[in-house]
């Protein structure tokens, strides 16, 4: 038995959180707590880098698999990664330290508790991405609600209670049906082990209902139109670090779930429901882009743009084409980086001016040029300019879509134009134009930590925009295998 590297990835943040829990909570600038949290998450990041390096890219089977008896004769604790999940783990461990660096600007009270919540959150999120048992997956998936509820509720904005409740109840409501489905799968197939289920396959007559039950959970979490309304509320009220976690990682759980479970376990049902997903995705892309155009609050605008981007992701997944699925994974990764960066950008100006309204800014380009440049980069990445990370995913998704369904692809392409419209218009109104108000002159440019975070995000955004090859190498075999398996089960039907 090798070293349990995945379990240590899951456990390390919890150990860090426990350590913090037993340190004394000081008010104000609690540097020790921050360093402990930072240290833990950076170590976690390094471990996951090591994981990526030692990952064998030539096989689609699960690697680093650990299995332990957990509930006797029923559930085994089983974790492992393949090409699809490993990148999400990397994304998680990469974003979390940045969140922790960013907190000193946005979180004023109870810093220690906030860090504990973030660390626990990280461990649950890693757990979601490497769980290879449905019950273990559900456990991590749901457990994440608790820290996120607290992050929004305790450190959020004025309407935080409403948003926290909405977030919690929406997602819980979506998930309970998934629990019914998971237990049903256990009784139908006799196991909840994902690898075994891949081999066994699930009886065709149950697939549609089970697919719908999983869909209800993932659709809320993605979020897909029309159950997306919790997301703008949650984003607007959450503190910056919370928004970043939410946008960058939490939303990806559902996309990952679609690929791993909806496609993998229910190939026949996925085929049946593709029109449904297409319709909802296209509505999400077009409709929420229009809503984003009309927003006055920057965070809300980015939140709606997230819904639109996730619409592309679901569209790409259900094209069931190599390009489409690879594009979706890449799109999720790029959205993870870019939306995180955009929320941080909003956080930067919010910390200085305490307003997120677009109209209270304008003409800040001369006052804070460094910020404006980085903001520009991320805006361009968000609208999918070639040469940025955002382009790669969107392009592949549309390519996959054109192969599968011309009409849908054409409509979705309009979404790209709308995306450019709302992002550029946002940028123009905030950064260019006349100075709307003299207070803006007092703004100072990025401080060291902000600069560091945004640069950390900018580098991969540009690098993978020009050279996404390493990512493709990692996911390719797994995606090909997934599609082969899918086609095989369709053919055998």
């Amino acid at each position: 038995m090798n070293f349990p590297i995945l379990s240590s990835l899951i456990l390390l943040p919890i150990v860090g959180a426990l350590f913090l829990f037993f340190t004394k909570d000081k008010d104000g600038n609690n540097l020790t707590a921050k360093y402990v949290a930072l240290f833990t998450t950076i170590v976690n990041f390094l471990i996951s880098i090591y994981l990526w390096i030692s990952f064998d890219q030539t096989t689609s089977s699960f690697q680093f698999v650990e299995e332990r008896i957990w509930i006797k004769d029923f559930i085994n604790y089983k974790v492992g990664v393949d090409g699809i999940s490993i990148l999400f783990i990397l994304l998680t461990t990469f974003i979390t330290p940045l969140c922790i660096v960013s907190v000193n600007n946005s979180v004023k009270n109870r810093l220690r508790d906030f860090l504990i919540a973030i660390l626990i959150m990280e461990s649950f999120m890693i757990g979601v991405f490497c769980a290879l048992d449905l019950v273990v997956f559900y456990l991590f998936f749901e457990a994440g609600l608790i820290p996120m509820f607290l992050i929004i509720g305790i450190w959020g904005g004025p309407k935080r209670v409403y948003s926290a409740f909405k977030f919690f109840l929406y997602t819980l409501l979506g998930s309970v049906l998934m629990l019914v489905a998971i237990i049903s799968i256990y009784w139908i197939s006799g196991t909840t082990d994902v690898i075994a289920l891949y081999e066994l396959g699930i009886d065709a007559k149950y697939q549609n209902l089970l697919w719908l039950a999983f869909f209800s959970s993932f659709a809320v979490k993605t979020p897909m139109w029309p159950v997306h309304t919790w997301l703008p509320d949650a984003h607007v009220e959450a503190p910056t670090a919370g928004s970043v976690l939410l946008a960058a990682i939490l939303l990806k759980m559902a996309g990952y779930g679609f690929i791993r479970f909806s496609l993998g376990l229910f190939p026949l049902a996925s085929e049946v429901f593709t029109p449904l997903v297409y319709t909802l995705s296209v509505i999400a892309i077009i409709f929420t882009s229009f809503i984003a155009l009309m927003q006055e609050d920057m965070k809300k605008l980015i939140a709606y743009s997230s819904v639109a981007h996730m619409g592309f992701v679901t569209l790409g997944i259900f094209t069931l084409q190599q390009q489409g699925i690879e594009g979706s994974i890449i799109q999720m990764l790029s959205h993870g980086l870019v939306s995180a960066a955009l929320f941080l950008c909003v956080g930067v100006v919010y910390d200085r001016m305490h307003s997120r309204l677009i109209k209270s800014y304008g003409g800040i380009v001369t006052i804070i040029p460094k910020y404006s440049i980085l903001f520009m980069l991320f805006t361009l990445a968000a609208l999918g300019l070639p040469g940025t990370f955002g382009f790669v995913g969107e392009f592949l998704i549309l390519m996959g879509a054109f192969k599968d369904n011309f009409l849908v692809a054409v409509i979705a392409s309009f979404g790209v134009i709308l995306g450019a419209a709302y992002m550029l218009w946002l940028y123009k109104r905030v950064v260019f134009g006349k100075l709307v108000n003299d207070d803006l002159k007092q703004m100072v440019d990025l401080n060291k930590s902000e600069y560091l975070i945004l640069t950390c995000l900018a580098v991969p955004t540009l690098f993978f925009g020009f050279y996404p090859e390493p990512l493709f190498n990692t996911i390719e075999v797994s995606v090909t295998d997934l599609i082969n398996m899918h086609n095989l089960s369709i053919a055998s039907k």
Binding site: D25, I69, W70, I71, K72, V135, Y138, L139, E142, A143, L145, I146, F149, L150, G153, I154, R160, V161, A164, F165, F168, L169, L172, L173, V176, L177, L179, V180, I183, S184, Y186, W187
Partner: protein, 472 residues
């Protein structure tokens, strides 16, 4: 001659009740002594149960009227531990209200004795005797704070309604006796011919009586008032211990004599279960008093327990018992937290009194957070597993409607638990509460919270114990 060792726990408890009563009468100022001796009685009884009966598979005594099996032993141990902890926690509360009297531990002991008899009963007469013994003690306990109007009201209400339900129950018993010719569960099983409508009537009457005892909807009316009016420690007792005994009787009654009539009673249990889950969740939303809220939430939890019973399978029974075990721990933890809300010799029991608790009492708030999320059934806490096992058993029998309704009602229930968490964590703080709590409270909070929090690491242990219970 039957082996009397098997009923040693009951014999010992009844002897000590008598002894303590005499001691209390003849020795002045003996309340502390009685109290301590009662605690020791509980401990010794637990040891007796473990030593004498825990390994017994199934033995019947006294002309088959008493049964000792795995379920009886396990439930007796939980009952005794529950009684022990409630009694331990009570002392400070009682002293504050100046009702620290000898009667309290004696009444608790005798009601526990009644429950133990109920748990072991294999005969309608024995069962009824145990039931009345525990009920009589509980009436007095409800009114124990007799200078308070609410407490007396609670006791009276409980007495009147409970007497009514006992009447229904007895009527059912006599119908069953009339048509089967015996009160013994095993004999009834053999005599049973399912086309007797009167038998069905009998079952329904008994089910109504039992549903009243566990406060399942629509026989729950008494619970909120009684829970609110009784002294808090007695409320704790009410929400935990009698339910264990009543549940055991429920299981034994449905699954021993009347298993063949499952078509007749399954619908009733499903209805009770669904009604309790939904009503408990919705009615709790509007409450302002924590004890009333707990009353409604306990109605909801009983609904989940009954869902397991409705399945008609061993898995279902085991899941119900697992549920009630975990529920008892969560309730104990919740009430221990509630008893910590004391300032200047006054206890606070409104939800608003929890406002901003997290600022002044971080540890207490953290425990409450864990307990409430667990009650709401959010993983990875123990409450999730309790629900998980129940729904696993329910779905095994393809009762999807029950499972989906149950899980949707957990979402509704989550709302009011979240509301309390919101008040604790998101709202403005109030004055500090006292922090000089007795060792009992601290112990029970720490112990139960850790159990709830870390249950997911070793989930198999409880299942293993429970899975030895095979009724069918």
């Amino acid at each position: 001659m039957d082996n009397l060792n098997l009923v040693l726990p009951e014999i010992f408890v009844s002897l000590s009740v008598m002894f303590l009563l005499i001691l209390g009468v003849f020795k002045k100022e003996s309340s502390q002594l009685t109290f301590n001796l009662s605690l020791i009685t509980f401990l010794i009884a637990i040891i007796f149960v473990i030593n004498e009966t825990f390994s017994v598979n199934r033995i019947t005594l006294f002309n088959d009227s008493v049964v000792i099996d795995h379920m009886a032993s396990l439930m007796k141990i939980i009952t005794l531990i529950g009684g022990f902890l409630v009694l331990g926690i009570s002392s400070n509360y009682l002293k504050t209200f100046k009702i620290f009297k000898i009667e309290y531990p004696i009444l608790i002991l005798s009601s526990v004795l009644g429950m133990m008899i109920m748990i072991s009963s294999n005969d309608l007469m024995v069962f009824y005797m145990g039931l009345e013994l525990q009920s009589l003690a509980l009436y007095v306990l409800a009114t124990f704070n007799r200078d308070q109007l609410k407490s007396s009201e609670a006791g009276l209400k409980y007495f009147v309604l409970s007497a009514l339900s006992s009447g229904l129950l007895l009527y059912g018993c006599s119908l069953i006796y009339g048509f089967s010719g015996s009160t013994n569960f095993d004999v009834i099983t053999n005599q049973l011919t399912s086309n007797e409508y009167a038998l069905t009537f009998g079952i329904v009457f008994i089910l109504v009586g039992l549903a009243f005892k566990i406060s399942a909807v629509p026989f729950h009316m008494w619970a909120p008032d009684v829970y609110e009016g009784s002294p808090t420690t007695v409320t704790l007792f009410f929400t935990m211990v009698p339910k264990i005994a009543a549940l055991t009787v429920f299981i034994r009654f449905l699954y021993v004599p009347f298993l063949n009539l499952i078509d007749q009673w399954q619908m009733i249990i499903v209805f009770l279960s669904i009604a309790s889950m939904i009503f408990g969740a919705i009615a709790a939303i509007g409450q302002t008093n924590i004890k009333r809220l707990v009353a409604y939430s306990s109605i909801g939890h009983i609904g989940y327990t009954l869902a397991g019973l409705a399945t008609g399978s061993n898995d279902g029974i085991q899941s119900s018992i697992t549920y009630i075990c975990i529920y008892v721990v969560m309730n104990l933890a919740l009430f221990s937290c509630l008893l910590m809300l004391k300032r200047n010799d006054q206890y606070y029991e409104d939800i608003d009194d929890l406002s901003g608790l997290s600022k002044n009492h971080p540890m207490l708030s953290l425990s409450l957070l864990i307990i409430l999320f667990s009650l709401a059934g959010i993983p990875p806490l123990a409450g999730f597993f309790a629900k998980f096992y129940v729904f696993k058993a329910v779905i095994e029998q393809s009762m999807y409607f029950l499972a989906i309704v149950g899980l949707l009602s957990t979402v509704i229930a989550a709302f009011y638990y979240l509301r309390i968490i919101k008040i604790i964590y998101f709202d403005k703080e109030k004055e500090k509460y006292d922090s000089d709590h007795g060792i009992w409270l601290k112990f029970s909070i720490t112990f139960s919270t850790i159990l709830i929090l870390l249950y997911f690491i070793f989930p198999s242990q409880l299942i293993e114990v429970v899975s030895r219970i095979v009724i069918i």
